[in-house]
């Protein structure tokens, strides 16, 4: 029998705020243990948490980026459990009235497009960090209370590779949107996997198994690559799977059952009495929606369609947004778009790397690039001279026409002048002339090079070739 996997992901990302969600402690990675803590995030009695407005904005912004609906009423709830990293013995989260719901994420996968529906993205708080020693454990609460977004997908994912592609696309959106830095090394993104298998074609889902403790996207993919065949094997051997939570061991590369007592999920959710509900106003939503940016995939597709660029060029302008914006200004009224992309990617970017001058301070104006391209296309200057002109543009900020004029770099297409140079070259290189007449066609290139040198690179190369040939055959 053939089996198929049904996978849903719960992705947790830390929001990019300056301070924590309910108190003014810094949201900062890597500080010495328990230095960013206060009575609120330590869960001391008698304190009152107050919601960080930027945390609320970033949550709703994520909702917009993931095409979610934004309910006009959201509230916070307590999820009760005992664990040393939860100082209050509950986690503040959004249970039945989340800030965003019913969205989707489109991404490139397997040469086509895939869509995974987003059930909800709700706001909660991170917990402390545990350190394990021989005889006891230590807890650092610097991370406790950092705003955390839980993004829950529908079970639309069908393979480990698709899960991996989804996670990367989600990360791109969040980084691009300025919601989270998603730095995996710093634990800013973590994900849990829900997976079941069922005979292909069967409607009912199999027993849902949750896998925890994956701290990288490749870890999630590896855990799925292990878990899917494991479940299929249990079923094919006539066994039964039951709902459980497993833990990914990234050293042994296996999943293993977590002790059943800890799986008893009875969180006794109830409304958080210390926090007021949030009802976003029209004006507030309007402010947040202004922060919505074009998503990476949409930008790539737009650059490929509108400017007829190949995928690698479009990707360059997706990964380097300011450079892409610069290209868009340069290309505005131009015809030869690919040539402009080449100048921006190959020359401008190289110069920026070489000189370490940031793009914002670069002297070359965007509309100088199409001017330069036009000078080449119209035969005013050779493409070799264009390189020199560009270097001068980068240094002085003068327009290409000014530089060509000032330095007398215009291509010489005056037949009389070129004939004179050709005669000089022929007279000075009898050996090459002899070779050419003996049938060595390559000798013409050497003569051509001599003429170009005599003209200081300004002669029209096509014309030089033509005239030389005529003279030598005479």
């Amino acid at each position: 029998m053939e089996y198929e996997a049904v996978i849903g992901l719960e992705t947790h990302v830390q929001l990019k705020t300056k301070s924590k969600m309910w108190c003014g402690c810094a949201n900062e990675f890597g500080a010495p243990p328990n230095t960013n803590v206060c009575p609120v995030c330590l869960g001391m009695p008698g304190v009152l948490p107050v919601a960080n407005d930027e945390g609320l904005r970033l949550t709703v912004l994520t909702g917009y980026l993931l095409h979610c609906t934004i309910p006009r009423f959201a509230k916070f709830d307590r999820k009760n459990y005992f664990y040393p990293d939860a100082p209050k013995n509950y986690q503040v989260t959004q249970y039945d009235k989340p800030s965003t719901a019913n969205g989707y994420l489109d991404f490139e996968f397997n040469g086509g497009m895939s869509r995974v529906r987003i059930t909800r993205a709700h706001l909660e708080e991170d917990v402390g960090k545990n350190f394990h020693f021989d005889r006891n454990s230590g807890v650092d609460f610097n991370r406790a209370g950092v705003p955390l977004l839980e993004i829950v997908s529908e079970p639309d994912i069908t393979s480990p590779d698709m899960a991996y592609a989804y996670l990367n696309a989600l990360k791109d959106v969040l980084v691009y949107g300025g919601v989270s830095d998603c730095d995996m090394e710093k634990g800013m993104v973590r994900c849990d996997v829900n997976i079941s298998v069922r005979p292909k074609g069967q409607k009912e889902l199999g027993a849902k198994i949750e896998i925890k403790n994956m701290n990288s996207f490749s870890g999630a993919r590896k855990a799925l690559e292990y878990e899917i065949p494991r479940q299929i094997e249990v079923l094919t051997k006539g066994g039964k799977l039951s709902q459980e939570t497993r833990r990914w061991d990234d050293v042994a590369n296996i999943t293993e059952t977590m002790r059943s007592k800890e799986q008893a999920h009875d969180y006794r959710y109830f409304p958080e009495p210390d926090l007021m509900p949030f009802e976003p106003t029209e004006a507030w939503l309007e402010e947040v929606s202004k922060r919505v940016v074009e998503l990476p995939l949409a930008r790539k597709q737009r650059f490929m369609v509108d400017y007829e660029l190949p995928a690698p060029d479009a990707e360059t302008f997706v990964n380097d947004v300011p450079l892409g914006d610069y290209f868009e200004k340069a290309v505005a009224s131009a015809k030869n778009r690919k040539a402009i992309a080449n100048w921006v990617i190959n020359n401008l970017r190289a110069k920026i790397t070489e000189t370490q001058i940031p793009l914002a301070e670069v002297k070359v104006k965007p509309n100088d690039i199409p001017e330069l391209v036009a000078l080449v296309d119209n035969g005013k200057i050779s493409s070799k001279i264009a390189q020199d002109v560009f270097a001068e543009m980068f240094t002085s900020g003068d327009s290409p026409a000014q530089i060509v004029e000032k330095k007398g770099l215009a291509q010489v297409s005056d037949t009389g002048a070129i004939e004179k140079l050709c005669d000089e070259a022929i007279a000075a290189n009898p050996k090459s002339v002899e070779d050419y007449k003996a049938g060595k066609v390559a000798a013409l290139n050497s003569l051509k090079g001599q003429v170009m040198k005599l003209s200081k690179g300004k002669a029209n190369p096509a014309l030089v070739g033509e005239i030389l040939e005529k003279k030598l055959k005479a």
Binding site: T17, K18, S19, C23, G24, C25, A26, P32, P33, N34, T35, N36, V37, C38, P39, L42, V50, A51, N52, D53, E54, G55, L56, F73, K75, N80, F82, Y83, P84, K97, N130, F131, H132, F133, R135, N136, S137, G138, V139, D140, F141, N213, R247, M258, R259, E262, D266, R268, P271, P273, L275, M276, P277, F278, E279, T281
Partner: protein
């Protein structure tokens, strides 16, 4: 009023409190009575009433995203039963 059955052992476990058999009896009966009162409330038709999210009629209480001073670490750890290297020490966590 007849009490409603409640699994006192389970609830006690969730709350991490240990009860003697006598306490289980006593508290079980009390909780059962409380649930009995709530059963009575269920007789009210509230189908047209919005659930109350908060008893205080306030919404959108927020603060600007600004960093404020945290506690000195010594102060933060002062009530900890055990501490070392700036960490709260707890019994070994087994996953």
């Amino acid at each position: 009023m007849a009490g409603t059955e409640i699994d006192v052992k389970y609830v006690a476990h969730l709350a991490r409190i240990s009860l003697s058999p006598a306490e289980e009896q006593k508290i079980g009966a009390q909780l059962g009575n409380i649930l009995g009162y709530i059963e009575k409330l269920k007789e009210l038709d509230v189908s047209q009433v919005e659930p109350t999210a908060h008893a205080v009629p306030l919404i959108n209480v927020t603060r600007p995203d600004e960093i404020r001073p945290s506690l000195p670490t010594d102060e933060a750890l002062r009530n900890a039963p055990a501490k070392a290297n700036g960490l709260f020490l707890v019994p070994k966590i087994v996953e």
